[in-house]
């Protein structure tokens, strides 16, 4: 009996607290609710500065690296490296030739003295 009473009371409380489909809803034109219900307003304007990161599909042209300096630098380096190595061999060959000529002369002189 006591349980039934509790259940009935609970059902009554729930029926009062939960608004049903037929319950009256405040309307914008109803002056009774003018002070307590906020009028739906227009959506806020979009901020001038975005609050988060926004992805883009492609980098803007101003942000892209120009290719020409890299191509020119690469070709210039190739030429500098190859010509520099050629010059290095030329210089070393010249030194070896001079040394050979000097040694040959000294051996001939030594042979004549002997």
């Amino acid at each position: 009996m006591r349980h039934a009473t509790v259940l009935v009371l609970l059902a009554a409380i729930l029926a009062v607290a939960t608004p049903g489909e037929g319950a009256p809803r405040p309307t914008s034109g109803d002056p009774t609710f003018a002070l307590s219900v906020q009028q739906p307003s227009a959506p806020p304007p979009a901020p001038l500065i975005p609050e988060g990161f926004e992805p883009v599909g492609e980098r803007p042209p101003a942000e892209q690296l120009p290719a020409a300096p890299f191509v020119m630098a690469a070709y210039a380096f190739v030429w500098v490296a190859l010509l520099g190595y050629l010059w290095s061999i030329w210089r070393r060959l010249g030194a070896v030739e001079r040394e050979l000529a000097d040694l040959t002369r000294r051996i001939e002189d030594a042979g004549r003295r002997a």
Partner: protein, 220 residues
């Protein structure tokens, strides 16, 4: 001896005069655009680097097992050319990468293994320069190790996932790009042969100087 220079100078002049013009006329690549034209010097330099490493290894093997002194001269010359063409590859590659990938360098398989190969032959040159007696045989062993690395470097792009283009790029090149590439590759090959000949002549001359010093000491 300086006449060994003439083919190298002629080859370099042809390269300078003709190849850039042909490269400029080659079509642009769809995604990379102008920066892709570094390819026409970058890849032939890499090819010559690999060829030179193999030449150095074979010459070192002949020197070690066949005991032929002149093979050692070829090995030293080839090792120096690995260093020269290797530095060209390691500079032109990052210049291309900065534009194409957005970074100067990636520690991926191809780039890292190429750097290691270059360092092996730099170690060979330092060993020959400062190693003293016996450095010729020790260097020959190091060169054999360097030559063994070449297949790993070449196939690294096919085996591992890398940013670097795969080896199939050359064989599947667009017909409009093939003349520029093969002309450039041929010019680099000719230049390599001339440089190798000149450098071997230099080593031969140094060996002759050493023999003459010994002969002079005997006279004295």
């Amino acid at each position: 001896m300086r006449r060994a220079f003439l083919p190298a100078v002629v080859a370099a002049t042809v390269l300078f005069a003709v190849a850039p013009w042909v490269v400029a006329r080659a079509p642009y690549e769809q995604t990379m655009g102008l920066v892709q034209k570094i390819f026409y010097f970058h890849v032939p330099s890499a090819m010559m680097m690999f060829v030179s490493a193999v030449v150095c290894g074979i010459a070192s093997a002949i020197f070690l097992f066949g005991r032929r002194p002149r093979a050692d001269h070829v090995a030293v010359a080839a090792a120096e050319l690995v260093a020269v063409f290797g530095i060209i590859v390691l500079v032109t590659g990052p210049l291309w990468a900065r534009k194409a990938w957005g970074v100067w360098w990636q520690w991926d398989a191809r780039l890292t293994s190429t750097l290691v190969l270059w360092m092996i032959f730099m170690a060979y040159l330092l060993l020959r320069r400062y190693g003293g007696p016996g450095s010729d045989r020790l260097g020959a062993g190091l060169a054999l190790f360097g030559m063994a690395n070449v297949p790993f470097v070449y196939w690294s792009v096919n085996v591992w996932r890398t940013l670097h283009p795969k080896t199939s790029v050359v064989m599947t090149l667009d017909p409009g790009m093939r003349p520029a590439f093969w002309l450039s590759a041929g010019a680099f090959a000719l230049l390599y042969a001339a440089l190798l000949a000149a450098r071997v002549r230099l080593e031969d001359g140094r060996a002759t100087v050493e023999q003459l010093y010994l002969a002079l000491d005997e006279h004295d």
